[in-house]
Amino acid sequence: MDSPQHSLPSRLAFGVLVLLGYVAIANTVQQLYPFSVFDMYAHQATSASRIAVRDAAGAVSEVSAWTDWRCDGPIALATAPDHADRSPYSIPYRDREAQEWLTGHVGNGAQAVEVVRHIWWLQPEAGQAEIEDRVLLHCKARRP
């Protein structure tokens, strides 16, 4: 037997076995290298949120757009308790990036700003979103 065609039944059978085997094992272990069910976005969210900066004019921007931070309290955004009954969808590593930026860029900024959780409450069947900013910290910073 010397043709690649000869291997077709066995390789196709093997391909189906691998696909089914992957699904079975991944759904058992959930997340264990190199298996994953990739369920991080397998939810139905009606909100979104980011740690952001709100300046005196009310403009919202990324934390990383500011430097020389001086804040009125300990910087622990990732574990800050939410005061409202309902918590919005958030991405922990994005929160952590914001926190690390603040702790890594301490200085003597002079412009008063608020560090907020910027929330979009999404309206089904419409492109609009209701915006809410929950203040986490009062700080001074500088925009380079």
Partner: protein, 353 residues
């Protein structure tokens, strides 16, 4: 669409060295990335609450260097010649330790490293499956290198396909068809895309996040493309079509949500593009490079009867079942369920680690 025989490949009749070396290069780059992360990581408030000390203690430890060297030497040996099952398995084990340590030290599983490792696992499973078939039919494995790599290629492609099929299935199982509504994708985009991004990508993300119809169309497309990855198994043209669709999906996700998955995209291109159709012509001035695509001598393959194939397939299914039962008996699921346990919409306070 495809008139090629079921399960065939653009690589049939040619050496698969390009695939093997390409996969090794992608895995090696991932090894370097994971090792750098673990070297810089330290145990902290973001560490997994159930992670064992020995895993967390890898953070910043000289053992990271040792794992890096072992993984690179092993993947080098895997690339050097066909059939290197043990070397590939050693590289995969070292990579698994690094990636799991990285995930345990902070923020949960580093899924962008998973696709190349999965392709490597599928490749190695293909070598083992072919050897098992050859052994059952009484053939020495030394004559069967090309035959083994045919199955290795299929194993890698099927594992990649399973990855995406499962991603679609998890959305449908957790939420149902309603996942593809008009808010889910908007939520993902708004939570990820940088605020105030005035670039073309930023304008595109802003448009989709503000359009219920556009976000719903893209959500439906996500399910179709991820579920359609199983078509990669059918034949070369289907593999090209499904692979490029998944590649385009990743590119779109990067534009919208700044989530790259570069290693997955590279692995998809490696296994799904018809390299043998155009690279030999482009590389004809470099004979050593063309050797990667050499037409191989008529392949020796064992005469495998349908009964032998069924028996070996049944054995593989039994192994998968045993793995599932064993994994269920161990606290793996309890451990992995705590990854990202503090994300998502919730009505109570954020749990403390």
């Amino acid at each position: 669409m495809s008139f090629a025989p079921l399960g065939s490949s653009y690589w049939d009749g040619r050496s698969r060295s390009f695939l093997r070396v390409g996969l090794a290069v992608i895995v090696a780059s991932n090894v370097l990335g994971a090792a750098a992360n673990v070297w810089q990581d330290q145990r902290g408030t973001w560490s997994h609450p159930m992670a064992p000390d020995w895993l967390l203690n890898l953070g910043g430890s000289p053992l990271v260097g040792l794992l890096l060297i072992v993984a690179l030497l092993a993947i080098g040996q895997f690339a050097r010649k066909p059939g290197q099952l043990a070397a590939g398995a050693l590289a995969l084990a070292a990579m698994a330790l690094l990636v799991e340590a990285d995930g345990a030290l902070n923020e949960g599983p580093k899924r962008h490293f998973f696709a190349p490792g999965l392709a490597l696992l599928g490749w190695l499973a293909g070598l083992a499956f072919a050897r098992l078939l050859a052994w059952r039919s009484g053939h020495a494995r030394a004559d069967l290198t090309a035959w083994q790599e045919i199955h290795a290629e299929m194993g890698a492609v099927a594992a990649l396909a399973g990855n995406y099929v499962d991603a679609a299935a998890s959305k449908l199982l957790h939420v149902g068809p309603g996942w593809a509504n008009d808010t889910t994708l908007r939520s993902v985009i708004l939570s990820h895309h940088p605020l105030g991004d005035g670039s073309l990508a930023g304008q595109y993300a802003h448009f989709v996040a503000g359009s219920a119809a556009a976000s719903q169309v893209l959500a439906v497309a996500t399910l179709v493309v991820q579920g359609g990855a199983c078509l990669m198994l059918i034949g070369p043209r289907w593999r090209l079509l499904a692979g490029l669709a998944v590649f385009a999906f990743h590119c779109n996700v990067e534009l919208l949500a700044d989530i790259g998955y570069g290693p997955a995209r590279m692995t998809l291109l490696l296994f799904c593009l018809p390299w043998p159709l155009f690279l030999p012509r482009l590389l004809r001035r470099w004979p050593r490079a063309v050797a990667f695509f050499a037409v191989v001598a008529p392949m020796t393959s064992p005469a495998v009867s349908r009964t032998q194939l069924l028996r070996v397939s049944a054995l593989v299914l039994a192994l998968v079942a045993a793995t599932v039962v064993t994994a269920r008996a161990l606290p793996i699921r309890a451990y992995t369920a705590l990854h990202h346990s503090y994300s998502g919409e919730r009505s109570g306070p954020r749990p403390q680690p």
